[in-house]
Amino acid sequence: MPSQPLELILARQFGDSLSMPCFLVDPDGNLLFYNEAAESIFGLRFGETGGMRVEEWATVFTPSDANGNALVPEDLPLVKTISTGNPAFGTFFINSLTGERIQITVSSFPIMGRSNRLLGSMAMFWKTKEI
């Protein structure tokens, strides 16, 4: 496994030091890291799951809108950022792995490294309300 570019290592270091939940993905959307705060929302530990492909993480939490309609991956802010390279924002519901239905708000942005290289994307999210 080749080592990650400096910018992603620093992004992981940054995420790791935050108490706000965060996700870090590579340019193809593969989940590289989520921090402890994210672990507590999802009820999953990074050390146990490791990385996940976009099809996995975009569906494993069964994202849905306020009416309970399932969201396709393309509707998720982080997936939008991966496919367009632009920042995105959104609020939706997920089922945590402990079965809890929670509302989260997500802000995602691309990681443009030195020399304008697109190296991945990062998402920060907040638990907005519990049902």
Binding site: M1, P2, S3, Q4, P5, L6, E7, I9, L10, R12, Q13, D16, F33, M112, G113, R114, S115, N116, R117
Partner: protein, 278 residues
């Protein structure tokens, strides 16, 4: 590949009777392979390199790790730049906005230096690098951004089966998620892995590092742990602190390696030293 050290001091040239073994000139390494002449960094050591350069050399490739003063301060005194029959290439880290040539022009301009880049008899050819791979003659060069304030590159030079890695200024702990355990998440690993010879920043003792986190340099212990992780065959500790005498450097190495069982060589880089990699 023949590797000659013309300067391995960090931050500031430190001539003096207490520094005769390891030398006082700042970063400058000459790599020769057949006809190819590569220079890593243009610190104060480049003056003597220029003075003793083989007169048959007509093309020189200078690779800058970054543009901090200790890595560029010798450039204006590098005589081949004033010889129109020698073609000089400058390679350095690309940033997102300002071209490398503009950043180099800051050095080559009053009041820092009287001669402008455009006034040289032959303008150096500028190459901007990021994480990339290219060849100079028979030498394959890989460059990668490393963790140090401002855009900074590490270099991996491969000729035949031999590999020389150069990471002059690098803060290992800052650029790693779980140092020294996960190569995938350790910055610089790709540059140094399995190298026959690694020159790596080892500016501080472990105790000093605790008060200098974020300054962009590593401790001797961390440099050794990195060498071990990368399975290098030989590690030369680089970027000696200007305040440290020969005696103090030797004590520092002794203290940092005692009780360590190492299966590779660790030594202090010294000015004038020559390595031959087959």
């Amino acid at each position: 590949m023949k590797i000659k050290v013309w300067g391995c001091r960090g931050s500031l040239p430190t001539p003096g009777p207490e520094n005769t073994i390891y030398g006082g000139n700042t970063s400058c390494i000459q790599v020769t392979h057949g006809e190819t002449c590569i220079i890593l960094d243009g610190g104060s050591g480049i003056l003597r390199l220029g003075k003793y350069l083989n007169p048959n050399v007509k093309e020189i490739h200078v690779l800058f790790s970054h543009l901090h003063l200790d890595h560029t301060m010798g450039l204006g005194f590098f005589t081949p730049l004033y010889n129109p029959s020698i073609k000089v290439h400058f390679y350095g880290p690309s940033t997102s906005n300002e071209p490398l040539v503009n950043r180099l022009r800051r050095y080559f301009s009053p009041p820092l230096f009287p001669v402008r880049l455009s006034e040289l008899p032959r303008h150096p050819i500028i190459h901007e690098l990021n994480n990339c791979q290219f060849s100079i003659g028979e030498v394959q060069v890989n460059s990668e951004y490393v963790c140090h304030p401002g855009a900074t590159l590490g270099y991996r030079l491969t000729a035949g089966n031999s590999v020389f890695a150069y990471i002059s200024d690098h803060e290992l702990q800052m650029g790693s998620s779980n140092f020294p355990n996960e190569p995938e998440w350790t910055n610089g690993y790709e540059i140094a892995k399995s190298a026959d010879l690694l020159f790596h920043d080892a500016a501080y003792t472990s105790k000093e590092y605790m008060t200098k986190i974020g300054w962009g340099h590593s401790s001797v212990r961390d440099a050794i742990a990195f060498g071990k992780m990368c399975k290098v065959k030989r590690l030369a500790l680089f970027h000696h602190e200007p305040t440290r005498s020969d005696e103090q450097l030797e004590q520092m190495l002794k203290k940092s390696t005692q009780n360590l069982k190492l299966d590779f060589e660790v030594e202090l880089c010294a000015e004038g030293m020559v390595y031959e990699l087959e």
